[in-house]
C-alpha cells in the first residue's frame, strides 16, 4: 500500500521517457518546432517535480539540469542543434538507467550524470555571475520552512491585521486566517470598523475592516507570520509581543498605559482627561482622542493580560521553587572536562612526589588538593549529565512508525526518563538502542491476530527503562513478544560454525550467542532490523562505552535486553597494576578482589589456569603470557578477580599498585585494531599506562581455550 505513489511515479516516468524519446527525435527533424520543445520541457519538469515528491532525488536533481537547458531553449536563449539532441538523448537514457536502478535496488551511476551535466552546461550561455547565483537560489531553495521553536512559556502577542480592501478578490477567506490563529493558542479578535464607509459608498465585496487579535500561545512570531504567508502583500501586519511569559510587572497594565503603549494617546492626553472623573475609556472617547474600537480592543487586552498573570501566579505557586538555568555551548563543557582531566593527572603526580619527599607540609597540601580535585571532577562531570528522557521521547515516534509499518499494535512504556547520564554517552547510546528497539518490534512482538490466538492481548508492550546502579546506569529494553528459543539459537550457531556440536552451553550462554559476529536469528532479513547489521555491532558499541550487554528470554513470553553503562566516559576509578615494570589499568567497577598466586598454587592446579578463591574455582588469564612478556614472573603474583557479564575471571599480574583516578585518552587511529586495550592514560610521573578491555580479553581467552582443547584431542 505504502508504495503505491512510488509505483505510480515509476509507471508515469517510463511513459514520459518514451514520449521524450519520440519528441527528441522529432526535434532533431525540426529544431524550430516550439511545440515539441514545450513538450520536452514539460516531460522533464514532471519527472523532476514528481521525482522529488516521491523520494527519487537522484533522478530529480539530474533532470533539473536538463530541464534548465530546455527552459532556455523555450525562451529562445539556446538554439537546438544535432549535438544538443544527442546529449539530450543520452540524458534521457541516463534518467531511465537511474529509474531502473531504483527499481532493482541497484547502485545509481552518478558519475555518468555528472559527465552529462558538464556536457549540457556547454550549451548554456555564460550568465552574469550574480544572476546565476540568483537563479540557483530560486531553483534550489526549498520553501521557507518556518521553524516553530516551541518554548514552554506562554507569550501574548498583539497582532494588528489591516487587509487591503481588495484582499478577498483572489479567494482569501478572512475567517480561515482567524481560525488558524485561534489554533495556535487562546485568541481574541476585535474587528475595527474605523474604515467602514457609508452604506451607499460601500462595495460589499471589499474589505473595510481591520483586526486586532490578542493571541496567547507558546509559538514564536514566525509561526504567526506563517499564518498570513499568502496575504503578506495584501495586508499590513504588525505583531508585538506584549507579554513575554516571564515574570513581569506584578500589576495588570492599566487601560491608559495600554493605549499609550499602542501609540494611540500620549501620557499628556491621559493626564488631561484624568482631571475629570468618569471612566477613563468613556472620557477618552468623549475627548475624541480614541474611538470606541480602540477602547474595546484595549479593554480586551487588559482582560487577557490579567488572566495570564493570574494563571501564571497560580502556576508558580504549584511549582516552587523555580530554578534558573544557563545555556552553555557543549564544546566549552568538553574543554572544561579536559582541563579537569589534566588537573587530575597533575594532582596524582603531586601526591606521588609529596609521598616521596616525606615532607609533612607538602603532604598536607597535596591531600587538600586531592580532595578539591575530586570535588571539582565530580561537579564538572555532573554538569555534563543530561536526563536520558530526551532520547526516550524520540523512541516514542520510532515505535509508532515501525508499528504502523509492520501493522502491529504496540504500547510503548518508559520508566526512569529522569535518569542522568553523560551527554556523550547518551549520544552514543542512540544507535544501539534504535537497533534493539527495532529488533523488539520486528522479531519480538507478534502480529495482533497471532497474539490473540495465543491468549495474549492484541496490544504488545515494549518497555524501555533506565535506573542508576552505583556509578553506572542500567538500561533495560523488554518486550512481551514471542521470545527466543535456545534450541533454535544453538542450531543456528552450529550451522554458522560459531560453536561446535560438542560444546555444552548453559541457557545464559545460549542467549549470548546472539551477540556473536555473523549471527542473525531470522531467516529473512527484513527491511527494518536488517541492513546486514547484527547484534554484534550493538555489543561492540556498548563495549566502546565500557558497558556490558546481556539478553534473557522466555520462549513465548518475551525478551529482555539489559545494558550496564558507566555514567561517564572521561574519568574512571580504576586499579593500577604492573607487569614487568609496565603499568596497566583495570576499571574498578569490574574488580571484586585480589588474591595471591604462588608457584605452589600453580603446580597444585596441574597446569590448568584455575585458582581456588574461597572454595570455588575461578579461571584466570596470565597476562604475562597473553601479552607475550618475556622474563620470569615474581615468586608471588597477584590475581585480580573481576566480574563481567555475570562471569568471574582472574587476571594475573606482577603487582597491584592501588586505586587510581584514570583520565581516559584515546590511543589514536594507529591502534584502532587493538582489541584488548581500550585506551591509555598518563600517570602522575608522566609515564603511560594502558587500560585493559576486560570483555575482549575474556573473549580472546575463550577462543584460545577452544583451540587448546582441539589440540589436546
Amino acid at each position: 500500500m505504502a508504495d503505491l505513489p512510488q509505483q505510480a511515479f515509476r509507471e508515469e516516468a517510463y511513459e514520459l521517457l518514451a514520449e521524450l524519446e519520440t519528441a527528441l527525435l522529432e526535434l532533431e527533424e525540426c529544431p524550430d518546432d516550439m511545440e515539441v520543445v514545450g513538450q520536452i520541457f514539460r516531460a522533464m519538469h514532471t519527472i523532476k517535480g514528481s521525482g522529488a515528491m516521491f523520494g527519487f532525488n537522484d533522478i530529480s536533481s539530474f533532470t533539473h539540469e536538463v530541464e534548465t537547458v530546455y527552459d532556455l531553449v523555450r525562451n529562445g536563449q539556446v538554439h537546438v542543434n544535432k549535438a544538443l539532441v544527442e546529449i539530450s538523448l543520452q540524458a534521457r537514457d541516463h534518467i531511465q538507467n537511474l529509474l531502473d536502478a531504483c527499481c532493482n535496488g541497484a547502485e545509481a551511476d552518478l558519475a555518468t550524470g555528472t559527465e552529462l551535466i558538464a556536457k549540457l552546461q556547454q550549451f548554456m550561455p555564460p550568465p552574469e555571475p550574480q544572476l546565476q547565483a540568483d537563479t540557483q537560489l530560486q531553483a534550489d531553495t526549498p520553501p521557507k520552512t518556518v521553524a516553530t521553536t516551541e518554548s514552554h512559556e506562554l507569550k501574548t502577542y498583539r497582532i494588528m491585521f489591516k487587509p487591503h480592501p481588495h484582499i478577498l478578490q483572489n479567494g482569501t477567506k478572512i475567517s480561515a486566517l482567524l481560525e488558524e490563529l485561534a489554533d495556535l493558542g487562546t485568541c481574541r479578535s476585535i474587528a475595527q470598523m474605523t474604515r467602514l464607509p457609508s452604506f451607499e459608498e460601500l462595495d460589499p465585496e471589499l474589505c473595510y475592516v481591520s483586526w486586532n487579535v490578542l493571541l496567547t500561545s507558546t509559538c514564536d512570531e514566525d509561526a504567526i507570520r506563517d499564518v498570513f504567508i499568502f496575504v503578506e502583500d495584501d495586508a499590513d501586519l504588525n505583531i508585538h509581543l506584549i507579554d513575554t511569559g516571564e515574570e513581569g510587572e506584578e500589576e495588570g497594565q492599566r487601560l491608559g498605559d495600554i493605549l499609550i503603549g499602542r501609540g494611540e494617546v500620549t501620557q499628556n492626553d491621559i493626564d488631561r482627561v484624568l482631571a475629570k472623573s468618569k471612566r477613563i475609556g468613556e472620557m477618552l472617547v468623549d475627548a475624541g482622542l480614541v474611538d470606541q474600537d480602540q477602547i474595546e480592543a484595549a479593554l480586551q487586552e487588559q482582560t487577557v493580560i490579567r488572566e495570564i498573570q493570574e494563571q501564571r501566579r497560580s502556576k508558580k505557586a504549584e511549582k516552587m521553587p523555580v530554578s534558573s538555568s544557563l545555556r552553555v555551548p557543549a564544546e566549552r563543557l568538553d574543554e572544561l572536562v579536559n582541563l579537569v582531566g589534566e588537573m587530575v593527572t597533575v594532582q596524582s603526580r603531586l601526591s606521588q612526589v609529596a609521598a616521596l619527599r616525606h615532607d609533612a607540609d607538602l603532604y598536607s597540601i597535596a591531600e587538600e588538593v586531592e580532595r578539591l580535585t575530586e570535588e571539582l571532577r565530580d561537579s564538572t562531570l555532573n554538569i555534563r549529565m543530561l536526563p536520558i528522557g530526551s532520547t526516550f521521547s524520540k523512541f516514542k515516534r520510532l515505535v509508532r512508525d515501525i508499528a504502523s509499518n509492520l501493522c502491529k499494535e504496540v504500547d510503548f512504556v518508559t520508566a526512569g526518563a529522569e535518569t542522568e547520564l553523560d551527554k556523550t554517552v547518551i549520544e552514543q547510546l542512540n544507535d544501539p538502542l534504535v537497533h534493539i528497539m527495532r529488533n523488539c518490534m520486528d522479531h519480538g512482538i507478534e502480529m495482533p491476530d497471532v497474539r490473540e490466538a495465543q491468549g495474549k492481548p492484541r496490544l504488545g508492550t515494549v518497555f524501555l527503562g533506565a535506573e542508576h546502579a552505583g556509578d553506572s546506569v542500567i538500561i533495560e529494553i523488554r518486550d512481551d513478544g514471542k521470545g527466543l528459543s535456545t534450541a533454535k539459537l544453538r542450531e543456528k550457531a552450529l550451522a554458522k560454525g560459531i560453536i561446535n556440536a560438542e560444546d555444552s552451553l548453559n541457557e545464559r550462554e545460549c542467549y549470548q550467542l546472539i551477540f556473536a559476529p555473523g549471527f542473525s536469528t531470522v531467516e529473512q532479513v527484513s527491511g527494518l532490523s536488517g541492513r546486514g547489521v547484527g547484534m554484534d555491532v550493538v555489543k561492540r558499541a556498548i563495549a566502546a562505552l565500557r558497558g556490558s550487554i546481556e539478553l534473557h528470554s522466555t520462549e513465548g513470553a518475551g525478551t529482555t535486553v539489559r545494558m550496564q553503562i558507566p555514567l561517564t566516559l572521561a574519568i574512571i576509578e580504576s586499579l593500577r597494576v604492573t607487569i614487568a615494570g609496565a603499568s596497566f589499568i583495570i576499571p574498578l567497577t569490574a574488580v571484586e578482589e585480589c588474591v595471591e598466586l604462588t608457584y605452589a598454587d600453580i603446580e597444585e592446579a596441574h597446569g590448568r589456569h584455575l585458582a581456588k578463591v574461597r572454595g570455588s574455582l575461578v579461571p584466570y588469564i596470565p597476562l604475562r603470557k597473553a601479552f607475550g612478556v618475556s622474563g620470569a614472573a615474581p615468586p608471588v603474583q597477584q590475581i585480580v578477580i573481576t566480574r563481567t557479564g555475570g562471569r568471574r575471571l582472574g587476571f594475573v599480574v606482577d603487582h597491584v599498585i592501588g586505586e587510581h583516578q584514570t583520565v581516559i585518552k584515546p590511543l589514536g587511529p594507529l591502534y584502532k585494531n587493538l582489541r584488548t586495550i581500550s585506551g591509555g592514560t598518563i600517570l602522575g610521573d608522566g609515564s603511560i599506562a594502558l587500560i585493559l578491555d576486560l570483555a575482549q580479553l575474556m573473549h580472546q581467552a575463550d577462543t584460545l581455550e577452544k583451540q587448546v582443547e582441539i589440540e589436546h584431542e
Binding site: 503505491l4 505513489p5 505510480a8 511515479f9 509507471e11 508515469e12 514545450g38 513538450q39 520541457f41 514539460r42 519538469h45 514532471t46 523532476k48 517535480g49 514528481s50 522529488a52 515528491m53 516521491f54 530560486q138 531553483a139 531553495t141 526549498p142 520553501p143 521557507k144 478577498l168 478578490q169 483572489n170 479567494g171 482569501t172 477567506k173 475567517s175 480561515a176 486566517l177 481560525e179 488558524e180 465585496e205 499564518v227 504567508i229 499568502f230 502583500d233 495584501d234
Partner: protein, 121 residues
C-alpha cells in the same frame, strides 16, 4: 457536507497523491489532467477549492486560473497552485492571475492538508 476539491495535474502520480490525501481527510475530489479539462469540470459543478499544477499540456495552470477568475462563480473561490518554484517572481505572477496560495514541490501530505485548511477554513 463534504467540501469539494478540483485537482488538476498532468502528473498522474502527484494527482493520485493529492487525491488520496484529500479524500483521506474527508474532502470530495474530482481530478483533471490539464487546464482545459479542469475548466470543463469547473463548469459542470461548483467546487469549494481548486488545486492546480503550473506546467501542463494543452492549457497551463495560470491560464486556467485566469479563466476561472473571470467566471462569476469562481470569483472568490480559493485556488492553490503546486509548483517547483517559490520565488517572488512566481508569487507576483500567480497573485496577478488570481491565486489564493501556493505549495512548493516536493511536499508532505500533511503540509498539503495544512495549506488547504489555511485557505478553506
Amino acid at each position: 457536507m463534504a467540501k469539494t476539491v478540483l485537482a488538476v495535474d498532468d502528473s498522474r502520480s502527484i494527482l493520485q497523491m493529492v487525491s488520496f490525501t484529500l479524500k483521506g481527510a474527508g474532502y470530495t475530489v474530482v481530478e483533471a489532467t490539464n487546464g482545459q479539462e479542469g475548466l470543463a469540470q469547473a463548469q459542470k459543478q461548483k467546487f469549494d477549492l481548486v488545486i492546480t499544477d503550473l506546467n501542463m499540456p494543452i492549457m497551463d495552470g495560470l491560464t486556467m486560473v485566469q479563466k476561472l477568475r473571470a467566471s462569476p462563480s469562481y470569483k472568490f473561490t480559493p485556488i492553490l497552485m503546486l509548483s517547483t518554484e517559490a520565488g517572488a517572481d512566481f508569487k507576483a505572477k500567480g497573485k496577478a492571475a488570481g491565486l489564493t496560495g501556493w505549495l512548493v514541490k516536493p511536499f508532505e501530505p500533511q503540509k498539503l492538508l495544512g495549506v488547504v485548511k489555511k485557505v478553506l477554513g
